[in-house]
Symmetry: C3
Subunit: 263 residues, 3 copies
């Protein structure tokens, strides 16, 4: 990714647009945020990847998403794209859009267990409730991946990435990653950047490792949750994305995963 | 607030959405920014508090605000909400919206003397001109609070918070707080987070103390205005919100207030 | 600028709105972001300068831009404004808007060689292709400046600023300036702030010197591109804008320019 600097077209939420762009630039990719349907259609067809994030979606923005998804699917070869169904479930507009978009072939769907469960329900499968065991949660993710033909990346204490057949767990990260807005949304954009240069399963795994390791580096070696403020943490997180060598990131994937754990 | 992590639904301006979310996360609350009217109506009814900030309001965003305000007022029990009438006075769209929304029962109205004065004028009271004395300014704030049944939090060199009967002044803060965009807007969101767990007057006072003290901590002990850059200041401000113990924040409220001073 | 603190009305892209506001505040100006056509018309007429940036333009935002441009041109005296035609060329909505707006008398047009070339093509001149020599690129910029009556500021390894008759090159900056989103967009806003207090050619040159020098300061003295992360760089960049004395900025303009170089 760092050598080819893929262009990632992001139609994303207004809260995290700046942070997402800075994460992509730090990681070596090139962000472009274009929402207007007419312009989005042109850009999506020539980008290396597309991100569709529903975090602050409105009907106006959804029109741009539709145009961009149609363009990436019509391109030859098709352009890989990532769907991030932020906070779907109870909110009607975004829940409907997620169900509509999920059927249009995203390379990767990224969300937490609640969002992936809501997507499962919305596309005819079974959801995730709070009593679900780790194995049951993993099964929901695998079912979504198989039924939609997408890689599913489910974030949590342990991250789970699956194409429905192969399932990988990543044990990395830091609690402060949940105290800076937009880390998960930016992770989706990095998955897109990597999907521009490799297969979706590898892209989702490598992006997760990269972002989680940057979080660990940002928190510092001997620190606990309370000792680094979120302002300093966010600065160091971008620094780590800029400076961490690729071989250190790859090491994250060789860590053992606790038995019985899931997303 | 840190133990219950209230969900604050923010319909706020595009300049400060990211900073507001990070301030809420640093302070221990959970932000959610949803503008679409259909989704905003659902979210507002289940949130701990709502923030309506007019900083970059458009007619499209105003529709989401109307839906959210109706939902919080229809919820049982009602959800407290904060109105921040940014830059009202000369600009017609936002000035009209502020007058409309102010009559719908915000728990807290947060603004500077000019904005509170404009709101007074728009709701039939007397405004604030540049020749007003501190006592006259305080009287305008108290009249607005009484006529609308809201707590009014008027920011300035000295912050003034009043429910129309009881008036509290907070002497804290630092000039650099005005050199980082969105501090006042984020303060409104923290007032919302605290209003989810206590009464509006206490919430407005405690939020003001928390934000002002974080500004002092960020500026550093021996510094003057010119010695800390605004980049470092903003990072340290978020760090201070993350790390400052609650009992230190409470100390701010025991400081003496200079005689004759007002917002 | 630091003494008069000019109000800069920015109708700019959602990715960089926060960073632009913080850059203006750090540099001593006062930002105001208002997109709604009704409010934008009132604000633009009383601002010190207007910035129109097409980075995430939609048809809704374009309506606010049209209203604001009409207001600055109708004001007496007229208010100077800056056009930043971000990523025009292939994208139809923004390319058409840039051609429309460029004919309405911007004091300064700021962009890279590709954008200025696209503007030249769209207004009947000759574009810039990748085989163009530095002298050919400079000629395109000078032709655009003369045909539109605007100062053209073309960013690149060497920045070129011209009013069509006088052409100045600024040799300053650092590669990390391209790894933080919105530096170029924020530069346009600083040009606006300075155009509120001096002539457009001087404003564009001084803003370029200020932003480039802040980038050098942020990167640190002995550093190379890889040693400072982009998080730390962005913080130090704002610090440098806050703290660098004006006479140091002026020194940048006395540097020799490499022979044969252009934007």
């Amino acid at each position: 990714m760092r050598s080819s600097s893929p262009l990632v077209h992001c139609i994303t939420n207004r809260v995290v647009a700046n942070f997402t762009a800075n994460v992509l630039l730090a990681a070596g990719a090139a962000p472009a945020m274009v929402d207007d349907p007419e312009d989005a259609e042109v850009l999506a067809g020539v980008a290396g990847a597309l991100l569709v994030n529903l975090g602050t979606v409105t009907r106006a923005q959804a029109a741009g998403m539709r145009a961009a998804i149609a363009a990436v699917n019509a391109a030859s070869p098709t352009v890989p794209w990532v769907l991030d169904p932020v906070a779907i479930g109870a909110l009607p507009l975004r829940t409907g859009l997620a169900a509509e978009f999920a059927r249009q072939g995203p390379a990767i769907i990224r969300g937490n267990a609640s969002e992936i469960g809501a997507l499962a329900g919305g596309t005819g499968g079974r959801g995730v409730d709070s009593t679900a065991s780790p194995d049951e949660v993993a099964e929901v993710a695998e079912n979504v991946a198989r039924s939609l033909g997408s890689v599913v990346a489910m974030s949590g204490t342990v991250d789970l990435i699956t194409d429905g057949t192969r399932t990988v767990r990543v044990t990395a990260g830091h609690p402060l990653l949940t105290r800076v807005t937009g880390v998960g949304c930016a992770l989706g954009s990095v998955m897109g950047a990597l999907a521009a240069v490799t297969d979706p399963l590898t892209a989702a795994i490598a992006a997760t490792a990269m972002v989680c390791l940057a979080g660990e580096t940002a928190a510092g070696d001997g620190s606990t949750d309370g000792e680094v403020g979120t302002g300093t943490f966010a600065v160091r997180f971008l620094d780590a994305l800029t400076l961490t060598p690729a071989d250190e990131i790859a090491q994250v994937l060789r860590r053992p995963v606790p038995s019985g754990s899931a997303a």
